[in-house]
């Protein structure tokens, strides 16, 4: 089932990616080949095998609901492109 360039544009939007018009054909071709390749799984005789959740069948560990992290906001925000008064800046969303 080959993907169309429209499909690729839709997936790109879901993934918050953008492709230039001249990149779309190559990505469409590559992605179609990958999907064709994984389509082999359709014929796999899985029967009633349960989907694997963890390689060691280990349940998710829980911990006590207590504060364990200390405030390192200033440290972490050194890696941000735009901050002000401890807040991250993004383009205006509310007019």
């Amino acid at each position: 089932m080959p993907l169309s360039s429209k499909d690729v544009e839709n997936i790109a939007h879901l993934a918050r990616l953008r492709f230039a018009e001249n990149e779309v054909p190559a990505f469409t071709d590559n992605l179609s080949r990958i999907i064709d390749f994984v389509n082999q799984l359709e014929a796999a005789p899985v029967g009633d095998a349960p989907p694997m959740a963890h390689p060691l069948d280990q349940p998710q560990r829980l911990r006590k609901d207590v504060v364990t992290e200390k405030d390192q906001r200033a440290e972490f925000q050194k890696n941000a492109a735009a901050i002000e008064a401890g807040l991250y800046l993004v383009p205006r969303v509310i007019e």
Partner: protein, 490 residues
């Protein structure tokens, strides 16, 4: 000095033959001299390394030295290092200076190891040739026209060229074992959950596991022992005691090998296996038989589905993990975004390279509405079958043996046009990731002057025996001591 193993270097440090500062300077000089061609390092932390070495020398003088005190190592640039750029091979993180150390980094540092710097890798560990790095490709020290494998290609090249005695790596589908095989060194990926993933930049969380690339099983044991163990900050970390891996190797391995049963899966001997690697495997099998190992044919009937299964599960988890790169909190941010969507889309499209985008797109597609059952759920069921195949095999045998890769190192650019051809290079390694099993690659000969590796897969948490089996082989063979001529003795 660089000819020596970690164990021998530790002895040299202990006897006072050289200091850690001298040793560290020697490796920094080699990096300076040779890495211009190889490009194994993204960042060299010379000053910090010499500081750490001086601390190690003081600790030793104070009688506080362990087996890794003062030993220089290199870290794959997927592991966060406090105060040092952690790029993951991507433009996206070119400006990211980690505010903390990964658990692996912290543990090795606590054990006294000295970090020389951060090694090159495929972008976000997505690749099998180290050709997708934003910082340029890495060359194979055995032949500069060939790839070193990937994604831990920088670590593999650095150890093979003796620019570092050992290095850390991570393995999601073969990213430690495949480059180890192609570079003629030893690599181990432990059981899923053995080593903490805290501070290791996530690719596919149900498969990612850190391990070691080194000259020998003995050296790998020394590092793995320091890296392993429970960490409550990683929810998949397993709370289980860590054996004394290196100490365990002191016991007579020949005694331990005698009477073991190794399974040889017929699926590992498919048409894709090149004759040279097949010969190396057959020779290795003869060596094990001479040591009293019984080779038993086994079957892993669902293994041929491992690559398509992986290329659903890994991209799905990657698309989720990499959604965090939004141009807001850290990482690359595009210039002058017109609105929030433009900020997200342009930051991600300009920050990620093509292979990463392909994986994100594949993952987004297989997880999208209407396709989840057909792809992701189905793949996780097939994964259960593959895992059950291994469990069945391990009910009859102690270890599984096979090739690590279909062939030796390939030419740069040979597989970049077709992603599927590149993906199939991991056909023998992916199974262990899907099942969560520990596995190693061990040098086992040469094909036209290029190294070939064999793979050993152990049962869950059987790293001690896995290392012992590799060490036993290395006690009677010399493949692991070979270094490329240009980087050998002074």
């Amino acid at each position: 000095m660089h000819e020596k193993s970690v164990a021998a270097l530790a002895a040299g440090l202990a006897s006072g033959e050289f200091s850690s500062v001298e040793l560290t300077r020697h490796y920094l000089d080699r990096i300076e001299r040779f890495d211009g061609d190889l490009n194994a390092f993204i960042t060299v932390t010379a000053e910090q390394a010499l500081d750490q070495a001086a601390v190690a020398d003081r600790d030793r003088a104070d009688g506080k030295a362990g087996p890794l005190t003062g030993i220089p190592i290199a870290h794959k640039d997927i592991l966060c290092t406090e105060g040092v750029r952690t790029s993951c091979g991507s433009r996206m993180l070119d400006n990211f200076v980690s505010p903390f150390d990964a658990a692996v980094v912290a543990r090795l540092r606590e054990a006294g190891a000295v970090s020389l710097g951060k090694t090159n890798m495929d972008e976000f560990a997505m690749g099998s040739s180290n050709e997708t790095s934003y910082y340029g490709l890495v060359r194979n020290p055995w032949d500069h026209s060939r790839v070193p494998g990937g994604s831990s290609g920088g670590s593999a090249a650095a150890v093979a060229a003796r620019l570092a005695p050992a290095a850390t790596g991570t393995d999601t589908g073969g990213s430690i074992r495949q480059p180890a095989a192609l570079a003629g060194i030893t690599g181990i990926k432990p059981t899923y959950g053995r080593v903490s993933r805290y501070g290791m930049i996530a690719f596919a969380s149900s498969l990612d596991q850190a391990g070691v690339l080194a000259q020998s099983a003995e050296d790998a044991a020394l590092l793995l022992a320091a890296m392993s163990g429970f960490d409550e900050r990683d929810s998949t970390s397993v709370d289980r005691a860590v054996p004394d891996y290196a100490g365990g190797l002191a016991e007579d391995q020949r005694e331990k090998l005698r009477g073991l049963r190794f399974g040889l899966p017929k699926e590992f001997l498919d048409d894709g296996l090149e004759p040279g690697v097949r010969v190396a495997l057959e020779e290795a099998i003869k060596v094990y038989e001479s040591l009293g190992v019984e080779i038993v044919p086994v079957t892993l009937p669902n293994l041929p589905l491992s690559v398509p299964t992986y290329y659903v599960v890994a991209p799905a988890e990657c698309s989720s993990n990499l959604s965090r790169y939004d141009g807001v909190r850290f990482g690359y941010r595009c210039e002058d975004p017109s609105d929030l969507e433009d900020l997200y889309k342009r930051s991600r499209s300009e920050g990620f390279g093509d292979e990463v985008k392909r994986r994100i797109m594949t993952g987004t597609y297989v997880l999208s509405a209407g396709y989840y059952d057909a792809y992701y759920l189905k793949a996780q069921k097939v994964r259960q079958l593959i895992s059950a195949d291994f469990k069945n095999a391990f009910s009859e045998v102690d270890m599984i043996i096979g090739p690590t890769t279909p062939g030796p190192a390939f030419e740069i650019g040979a597989k970049t046009d077709d992603p599927i051809t590149m993906y199939l290079n991991d056909i023998y390694t992916i199974g262990a990731n899907l099942a969560g099993l520990p596995a190693m690659s061990v040098p086992a000969g040469f094909v036209d002057g290029l190294p070939a590796g064999i793979q050993l897969v152990g049962n869950y948490f059987d790293e001690q025996r896995l290392l012992g089996v590799a060490h036993g082989y290395q006690q009677v063979t010399h493949w692991h001591t070979q270094a490329p001529a240009a980087y050998g003795s002074e």
